[in-house]
Every structure is written in structure tokens, then in C-alpha cells.
């Protein structure tokens, strides 16, 4: 009975009093917004980088000018991958907020979206490149023999197969990204984790705010995994 009383009191203190649940709900909104847009940026960046890198490795004869451009682009992509994968996302976030956007008042969710998007793009790029390289060279040659141009072979034959193959790894990357956004509180962005921290800084109880935050992340990840599973099944149906 005493336990139930304490539970009720703590629950009231952490979520109901002063409308503290708002920190969690608003924070969840920010976390979802940042993750969603970062994922979109990550996909676009990732596919572009992956296509440049695998074209550089795969494509056969071409004009000197094209080959030169490709070499430069490939070099830039390599720098991007090395820097982004070689430094922690928290440090990248702080650099973007305090160094790159120094002396401007800027929407912090925007900063977070850019930081996490650029970060995710590097990982997506390598996943997708792995997918492209795993497609049998024969598929590529078949496309070219049928008279498709390089671009058409890529778009119509290679990439659709790639997408299906890399989907599990991509899903994994998005789950990681969702959880990584929890460091956004460092730039005073009030995301889900920061929401829990703010409650904790007011009530000094660790259990309820942290548990609530953890359960919400878990729920989103479970939901996301289920959706991905569904998508995977749909894409596989063509194989039968």
C-alpha cells in the first residue's frame, strides 16, 4: 500500500505537477522531427555518395574529362566519409552549432537536422555502396549489352536490386540515428532525452523520467522495426 502511495506521488510529481508531461511530449515531437528530416538528408546524401564511389570503381572507358571529374568527386566523397565516420556525432553537432553557425541566431532543430543528416549520410553511403558492389557484374554487363546506357543500367537494374538488399542494414542505421539524436540536448535543444533531463532537474527523481524516456524510444524502435519488416516482405514478394 505504501509502495502504491509512493508510486502515485512520484508519478504526480514527475508528470502531472506543473504539466511536466509536456516536456516529454514536446521533446518527442522534436526528436521525431529531427530524426525524420535527418533520415531524408542521410538517404539523399548517402545514395549520391555511394553512386559516385561505385561509378568511380565500376565504370569502364569514358572521356578524359569525365574520368577527371569523377576522380575529384570520389576524392571529396572519401574525405567526407573519413571525417564524418572518424569523429563522434556529438563533437560534430557542437562544431556545427558553436563554430560553423557562430554568431548567428539559428533554429536549433535545423542545426540538429543538418548535423545528424550529414552524419547519417556517411553511414548510408557505405551501406549502399556495399549493396551496389554486391550485385553481380553480369547484371551490369547484361544491361549494357541490351543497349542501356550506364545511367539507365544503374537506375533500372542495379539500384532496385540494391535497395532490396540493403534495406535491413538501412533500417538498422535509422534505428541508430533515432537514438543518437539523444545528444541534441547539448545544444540546448529540448528533445525527448532533454525533456526527461529537465524533469529530473526539477524533481530529482531518476526513475520515472528516465524510464518514461526509455520506454518511448523502445516503442518507436519496435514500431519502426515492424514497418521495415513489412516493407521487406512486400519487396520480397516479387521473388516468388
Amino acid at each position: 500500500m505504501e509502495f502504491a502511495d509512493k508510486f502515485q506521488k512520484d508519478f504526480y510529481l514527475n508528470f502531472i505537477k506543473d504539466d511536466r508531461w509536456r516536456y516529454i511530449v514536446n521533446g518527442l515531437g522534436v526528436t521525431l522531427k529531427v530524426t525524420l528530416f535527418a533520415v531524408l538528408i542521410g538517404i539523399v546524401l548517402g545514395f549520391v555518395v555511394a553512386i559516385i564511389r561505385s561509378t568511380h570503381d565500376k565504370a569502364g572507358s569514358m572521356s578524359k574529362f569525365l574520368r577527371g571529374t569523377l576522380n575529384v568527386l570520389n576524392f571529396l566523397c572519401n574525405v567526407y566519409l573519413t571525417v564524418i565516420r572518424g569523429t563522434p556525432v556529438l563533437v560534430q553537432l557542437l562544431i556545427i552549432y558553436f563554430v560553423i553557425f557562430a554568431s548567428v541566431r539559428i533554429d536549433k532543430s535545423f542545426v540538429a537536422i543538418i548535423a545528424f543528416g550529414i552524419n547519417s549520410g556517411a553511414y548510408v553511403a557505405e551501406i549502399v555502396r556495399g549493396g551496389i558492389m554486391s550485385i553481380d557484374q553480369g547484371q551490369f554487363e547484361a544491361g549494357r549489352s541490351l543497349g542501356f546506357s550506364f545511367t539507365k543500367t544503374m537506375m533500372l537494374i542495379i539500384l532496385p536490386q540494391t535497395f532490396k538488399n540493403v534495406l535491413p542494414a538501412l533500417g538498422n542505421e535509422f534505428i541508430v540515428l533515432l537514438k543518437e539524436t539523444s545528444v541534441a540536448g547539448y545544444i540546448a535543444l529540448e528533445d525527448l532525452t532533454k525533456g526527461g533531463d529537465i524533469i529530473r532537474s526539477r524533481t530529482y527523481s531518476a526513475l520515472f523520467p528516465l524510464l518514461a524516456v526509455a520506454i518511448i524510444y523502445l516503442a518507436i524502435v519496435i514500431l519502426l522495426s515492424q514497418l521495415l519488416k513489412l516493407l521487406e516482405r512486400r519487396l520480397r514478394s516479387s521473388e516468388k
Binding site: F98, I106, A188, I198, R200, S201, T203, Y204, S205, A206
Partner: protein, 244 residues
């Protein structure tokens, strides 16, 4: 080979035993703090120094215990004290009602004020001008708690005090509310910002201990009293804060 193994094993066991007795001789007094709060506590080389660190050291000396300082986020200190991960929280901590519900406080050992830092060319001249502004604070500090009472202001809660000040110098916030002594340090280190003459509020710092741990609380209070009488407390404060 077997012989070598047994020698190594027995040597390491002996070592373990020595370490074990070493701990037992002098009990540790673990202090939780947030060492980004000059001049009360900050990192200097390998050590955490400052007024609070020295006062805690003096208290530990009085009690005959070894002081261990744990550096953590400010908003985690009370939780650390509550859960017994630290014996006491010494972090320029003001007594507030919410905090009193979770920990016990010693007698105050210092007085302080929450002041407002603005840019030199700011139109904010007094606490009344803060309405509707963007204000940077350190999460969980009294500045953060008081700032929420300001009308229409949007509050940006940074994890560290200096990050809030950095946001101010970069024009990301209009003002920062923070304790006066760290404020002086921040202003002296950054050009183009100043402290408003009129303080936001006044308050007193005290040491937090786990609720119901009256034995430790009494020991700490006795030590503070002794340090106040002997003038040692003032000596420590004077060492870090140059009188105006």
C-alpha cells in the same frame, strides 16, 4: 611454469590484500560537484580546485576522512547524493524547496546572487527588461528555475554554464542568468559582455547530504562552524574572490 604462476598469483593476492587494508584505514568522503563553475569548482590541471573543493577538503580533514571529488552534470548531483553514490553535494548549491524534499542541507557557508549577463550594447538594463527575451541558463540551476517565472521569455537550458555564456557572445541568446562569482569569471574571460548592477535574486549556498543522514550532517555542520570561527572559511573565499 606452474611455479611461476603460483608466484604471480600469490603476489597479486598480496597486492589486493594491501590495497584492501589501505582503503580501510581512512574512510573516504565522496563529494559530488560540477567542476565547470569557477571560482567555486573548476579543473586546474589534473585537480579539481576552487572554494567548494577547499572547504570540502577542510571538512574532510576535520572528520579525518579522505576527500574524493566526483565531477558530474549539475542536475545529477542531488540524485547522486540521494542514491548514496556520493556522501555530499558541494556545488554552490542554493537551498530550494524542491531540493529540500530530496536532500538535507547543511548550514549555509556562502552567500551569492543570481546575476544577469548581457552584451555591452544590450537594451536590457534591469531584470524587468527580461520579459519576452531569449535567456540562456544552466539546466537545473536556480537561474534556470527562476527564469521560468519571467513572462514570455524563452529559456534555453544548456548543460554547462560556459555554453550559455558562449551562446550569449555568439548572439544566440539575449541574456544569461547565472551565479555572480562564475559570472565575474566569464565576463573577465570574454570581451563585449557585462554583468548588470541589479542582481536577479540573492541566495545562500549549502552542502547537500542524503535525507535522514543526520550523523554526517551534524559532522559537516560542526566542521563548517569550526571553519567559520577560525576564519579559515573566509581565508579560502578570499583566496579565490578578490574583494571589490
Amino acid at each position: 611454469m606452474k611455479k611461476l604462476l603460483s608466484v604471480v598469483l600469490s603476489a597479486s593476492l598480496l597486492g589486493l590484500a594491501l590495497v584492501g587494508t589501505g582503503c580501510g584505514e581512512k574512510k573516504e568522503l565522496v563529494m559530488a560537484t560540477n567542476a565547470e563553475f569557477p571560482p567555486y569548482e573548476y579543473h586546474d590541471g589534473d585537480a579539481i580546485v576552487g572554494i567548494d573543493a577547499e572547504i570540502a577538503q577542510a571538512i574532510a580533514d576535520e572528520m579525518g576522512r579522505t576527500l574524493v571529488i566526483e565531477d558530474m552534470a549539475f542536475d545529477s548531483i542531488i540524485t547522486a547524493v540521494q542514491t548514496g553514490k556520493a556522501d555530499m553535494g558541494v556545488a554552490g548549491m542554493t537551498i530550494t524547496e524542491d531540493r529540500l524534499e530530496n536532500v538535507d542541507f547543511s548550514t549555509p557557508y556562502a552567500t551569492a546572487a543570481q546575476v544577469i549577463i548581457v552584451k555591452d550594447d544590450s537594451d536590457i538594463a534591469s531584470p524587468d527588461d527580461l520579459a519576452g527575451k531569449t535567456i540562456g541558463v544552466q539546466l537545473g540551476t536556480t537561474g534556470d528555475i527562476y527564469a521560468e517565472e519571467i513572462e514570455n521569455a524563452s529559456i534555453e537550458k544548456y548543460n554547462k554554464g560556459f555554453e550559455a555564456v558562449q551562446a550569449l557572445t555568439q548572439g544566440k541568446v539575449d541574456a544569461v542568468i547565472i551565479d555572480n562569482e562564475p559570472a565575474k569569471v566569464f565576463v573577465s574571460q570574454n570581451e563585449g559582455i557585462k554583468i548588470l548592477d541589479e542582481a536577479y535574486t540573492y541566495e545562500e549556498y549549502a552542502i547537500a547530504v542524503k535525507k535522514g543522514n543526520t550523523e554526517l550532517l551534524n559532522q559537516i555542520n560542526a566542521a563548517i562552524e569550526k571553519l567559520q570561527e577560525s576564519g579559515k572559511l573566509q581565508e579560502i573565499v578570499d583566496k579565490y574572490i578578490v574583494a571589490e
